[in-house]
Symmetry: C4
Subunit: 367 residues, 4 copies
């Protein structure tokens, strides 16, 4: 098995058959009726590629530069919580795979490996740290300082989670972490483990009691006072918020709906990408995650203005398959698909990608 | 079971497995091919939410004011006939649940509990009385006077039922009430029970013989002469009728297609809401029912101009599950979902909801 | 059984379970991939009704006047070939049912009962005769003269069949008539029976050898010279041909795609109705058939400009169920549905139907 | 069996049940998620035909003239690789069938029969040779000279394959040719067989090592220096490339997405046809392949501007059914369907086909 895994979905199918229900439900779920979760994938198929031929595509280069760092390809790893539920080496294996493939790994605040462990496991990897802001601001200050010290290159502030989305399977499972795991970025028991007396998803209870739901634009100013790292906002979905982000001088925006896990029945992230790119112009870099499953998805996002894209769940399926090797295999497959797409579109590198190379499927029905 | 019911649809699934066929078919059915019934739900998924972030949403207040009465949330209970088929305490349990949750209960004319019983069961509940006009106008005058006396706060005149829609399952079942139940708002035998000699649905026969199909705008004037209660029209589906309603100085409009039970192949109620809101401006309050199944539906209806929404069938599923407790559980779930939606959209209360927070799914395909 | 048949589709389901494969396939089939066949039905669901309320609808009258004849409702019977495959009394039973219900029966040229037998069976019925033109024009002249003599009120010239559509099931079945039946409008053996040496559908072979594929607009002039009956063209699908029809002074147009049996992948008939109605203005009457299955379909066709509609297959299912009684039952059901639709739209008669009462489903997505 | 095959899809179903998995997967597969593959077929159903009636269609002529050669119908055979996996006589049987039916056969570079064998098998057939350009240009020069000598009438340069699309089933199968077959247009072992040490599809490995991915517009000029045959470009999908093709004075364009096998998530070929036809005007001939499965598809492509169409897979299913006879049967069926479509649209020949005879399905929803 695995030998003939040919695309990212093959790894998902495998994970569905091997992971325990509690973890699997947590990983796969979207919020509510999961329309946004499904749309994240389906929306890509509504964009059609217009390929150009008879161009010399023999010398292709997939690398790009993000926040001034050169990476080998415009495909990185999104932050996902508790990766050790997928594989004993969790975040460490994932980061090592990103390192090996020359791309970015984003570590979640809610990780089962600590900032320092990850830094040590993948010292040369371009690492970003995803930040949730705790009511107790000293917790956040501590996380930021440790991330800086450990050589992380950017802070990814997740803005779409003042409260947590309602993921029905987790409510039904009364989701909690397996007992042998802990949230390794903290020390106090109440922050490393979930309170099992809470009804429904215990993670949601954890978030409700510890995360700061007063978080607002003023806090961006505050965050800038406690760090010199670039600050990215993850979860922006409207031109209005994108403009505010520019006005607050953030260094980047991740267009994302949190993999369909926060507000159900918002748009697929690819559907709002261009609205945001147009709103910010070249004043900040824009990235995207949500539903990226093959190389044509990557290409479409780049055409519509993303500087790079990130994958969340697929890396978890890679971990579940075979730890670091599994994630590397996934990254190699999607890299090869993206490379093939570039060649079949007559492009040698991401700089040759042009806006007219993608149109909405409704384009021809308007003729 | 029930312990892990996480959303309203879980209660529907349960009801489908426990209610007897005759009652279940009556409750679930829509008219004809049931396209409007299905569309009532599906249509919501065609509206997409544009959420705003980085706003302090720590202090949320779901309350609103309807016809001058403050209620705890913009979600009430629609009138549905014969609720004792779902639970021995029927209307009483339903009204008590609304009372406990601080919202509006609407009692149907065709109820298996009387006006007075309901008033006594839930004295503090804001109660509305849904009116059908009988050929014998003295029947209607009696109902109106009793509702006034019992402290009901408004009359909801259902305008979409001059004749009853053709609900195929009821025709096939030759639907009738179980023998131990009666329509408790009346006294004469011919009005408390259905005539079993009629072909097809006996309820339809009942309606055809007793309801007034000459009902017209002049009767609104007459109704105003016999009551001082606010008058709402339930079932308006066009801007044209909405304007007439304003001209006849009604106090509110319930945009509704009777849960898809009257005219099949009309629009989903959410699809016509804005046309009506635009037509009436702020000259009267507009509410909506039909297909509301979770908190995002409530949010969308409010964005498109509804002052509040009502649920019909879900309350019946709550009753079938566990009487008053079941309905309370349903109301708590949808309240929590609506609260979460508000927070994830950057709103602290219904006043902060803005028109641009919802667009049609076709929005981005037009770019 | 049958007692609880509540809609026309119930009769179709019944027919599917009782008719022999050869006849059933012939009756149900559309041409090619059957996209037009399916679309004929589905297209109706894309038109949405905008109902008006609070109008006195107590006195309803479904009658209408077609070609100067008053009929009890705007729903008649389309010509369908070989009706005795569905019931021993075939065309006779069908015509009697139309007579009993006060509406129009159209007899096919390719009938298993003769013009004279039908006239005798249903003397008071408003009968139309559907005409195919044979290479041997004396055959046509004979048919026309006999129809006139037998009191038929109009000739319905089918224009969409210069050759026959390819109906795959008939090709596979090598469709032929059961041996005990004959085409009763003819006398010579070669015209009453199909040639069994032909490959594929023998009906198609029959048509290819006998029907006149030179038929053109000049022949309309010729037809007018041999009859004083009104001439209707059945099968017109474009404004261009409708204008030509007016120029050739025909008395009516039946918008029809032959129940999806001729050219697959043309539009549903309801989809082209308005284009044609607009093209002809009030210069000729326009009717429609294809996919009419319930009362809302009838209403929509009338809103979009049809003077009346016809049903083809449903009458065959009525025959298969119970001969004349079966067809009467079907006509009563759809009449009742249409009556209910009128009432729920605030109309007392067909004259009160207004154009704004139907819009395309895409209407609201354009806002 | 086979006796009652009534349409092209019947042959596909048969092939699915008889061919070995390795060959079948290779024949059926599209690239990636196969959305383009599926869309190639489905897209046709989105175009609707507007038929005209009452025209004398008794004398029909399906012939047309392509690159100055008269052929019996506007339906030819696309190049497909390795046809002997479907039938022992492979390309020879296919070419003979085209010859018998008076239409064009296109031989693939990657054939299991040689240029000379095909020329000998079907000397009177109008044969085209499909060209892939090898890094080693002497290979290409040899192929061109042999095709010229063998009487082929045109060179079809495939431009959409600088690298090969990722066909998942072939990757999983590690697709290779059965050992008894060889690529007969070459002599050196490395070119007649695939290297079995390659991972994934060995054909893809073959292409990657031998085909010239520097191919560009300058090479068109070079190609013109080594041949006097007309040059067609196969795989053009945008107006931009079509204009370049005209500027480089090619003799024809085959609008094609390689049967969905190269870049997944590009448009169906029928969807881009008109954009290209409009761009080139009458400066070059335009043909189409991809998803042609019945006579209405052919008609639609001609309405939208194609001079003729080609079928790829259906000919393989014909071969699998019964070699030359199977392909002839397929060509007879689709010819008959196209003939019937012409008649039902009021056309006697391809010259009478007019642009207004096809509209997009969204046409009427815009009213
Ligand atoms: C299991 C899981 C856990 C996640 N945890 C976090 C998290 O801790 N912080 C965060 O900002 N996003 C989190 N996300 C969202 C991801 O960063 C990312 O936005 C999303 O997974 C992208 O969509 P995809 O899974 O379709 O690639 C999580 C997503 C998943 C599936
Ligand atoms: C079983 C049932 C009985 C109903 N009875 C009445 C009634 O007596 N009077 C009335 O105005 N509406 C009646 N309705 C319509 C509801 O008031 C309401 O419009 C509809 O149920 C809302 O749609 P929902 O069920 O999707 O929430 C009934 C609906 C159902 C399902
Ligand atoms: C079994 C069958 C036989 C038909 N025979 C004829 C015929 O002889 N002449 C004709 O003009 N139309 C014929 N039609 C077409 C019908 O007149 C009519 O256009 C079509 O059935 C209407 O669609 P519906 O079946 O969806 O109601 C036939 C249709 C069917 C289903
Ligand atoms: C099995 C197979 C092999 C093919 N081989 C070639 C080839 O060698 N050269 C080429 O230009 N196109 C090749 N094609 C593409 C076809 O020429 C053609 O574009 C496509 O099959 C048309 O779509 P259809 O199969 O839906 O008719 C191949 C297609 C298939 C299905």
């Amino acid at each position: 098995m695995g030998d003939n895994f040919a695309c990212l979905d093959d790894f998902e199918k495998h994970a569905l058959s091997v992971l325990p229900k509690n973890a699997l439900d947590y990983y796969t779920s979207g919020a509510g009726a999961q329309t946004t979760l499904e749309d994240n994938k389906r929306a890509f198929s509504r964009y059609k590629i217009r390929p150009r031929f008879l161009r010399d595509v023999s010398k292709r280069d997939l690398s790009t530069t993000v926040l001034g760092e050169k990476i080998s390809m415009p495909i990185g790893i999104s932050p996902t919580a508790m990766q050790r539920m997928a594989h004993p080496e969790g975040e460490l294996a994932n980061a090592r795979a990103a390192e090996a493939m020359g791309t970015i790994y984003t570590l979640s605040t809610i990780a089962t490996s600590s900032i320092e462990e990850v830094a040590q496991a993948a010292p040369k990897c371009v690492k970003w740290f995803q930040l949730y802001i705790f009511r107790d601001r000293s917790v956040t200050i501590d996380l930021v300082q440790r991330a800086e010290k450990a050589g992380f290159k950017a802070l990814v502030l997740t803005v779409d989670a003042p409260v947590f989305g309602i993921r029905l399977a987790d409510v039904r499972n009364r989701f909690t972490m397996p007992p042998h795991l802990a949230l390794k970025n903290f020390t106090s028991l109440s922050m490393t483990k979930f309170d099992d007396k809470i009804e429904g998803s215990r993670l949601t209870g954890y978030v409700a009691s510890l995360f700061d739901d007063t978080l607002n634009w003023e806090d961006i100013k505050w965050l800038k006072t406690i760090t010199t790292l670039p600050i990215l906002l993850k979860g922006i979905l409207t031109a209005e918020d994108a403009v505010l982000a520019v006005n607050h001088q953030v260094d980047g925006i991740v267009v994302s709906n949190h993999g369909g896990r926060q507000l159900d029945s918002t748009f697929a992230s690819i559907d709002v990408l261009e609205e945001i790119v147009n709103a910010v112009g070249n004043k900040t870099e824009v990235y995207l995650d949500g539903g990226i499953r093959d190389g044509t998805d990557v290409f479409k996002a780049l055409v519509l203005g993303a500087k790079m894209v990130f994958i969340g769940r697929p890396a978890l399926w890679g971990l579940a398959y075979n730890g670091e090797e599994g994630v590397k295999k996934i990254l190699r497959i999607i890299r090869h698909e993206f490379d093939t797409t570039l060649a079949l579109c007559g492009c040698c590198n991401v700089g040759e990608i042009k806006r007219e190379m993608v149109v909405h499927e409704s384009h021809h029905s308007k003729l």
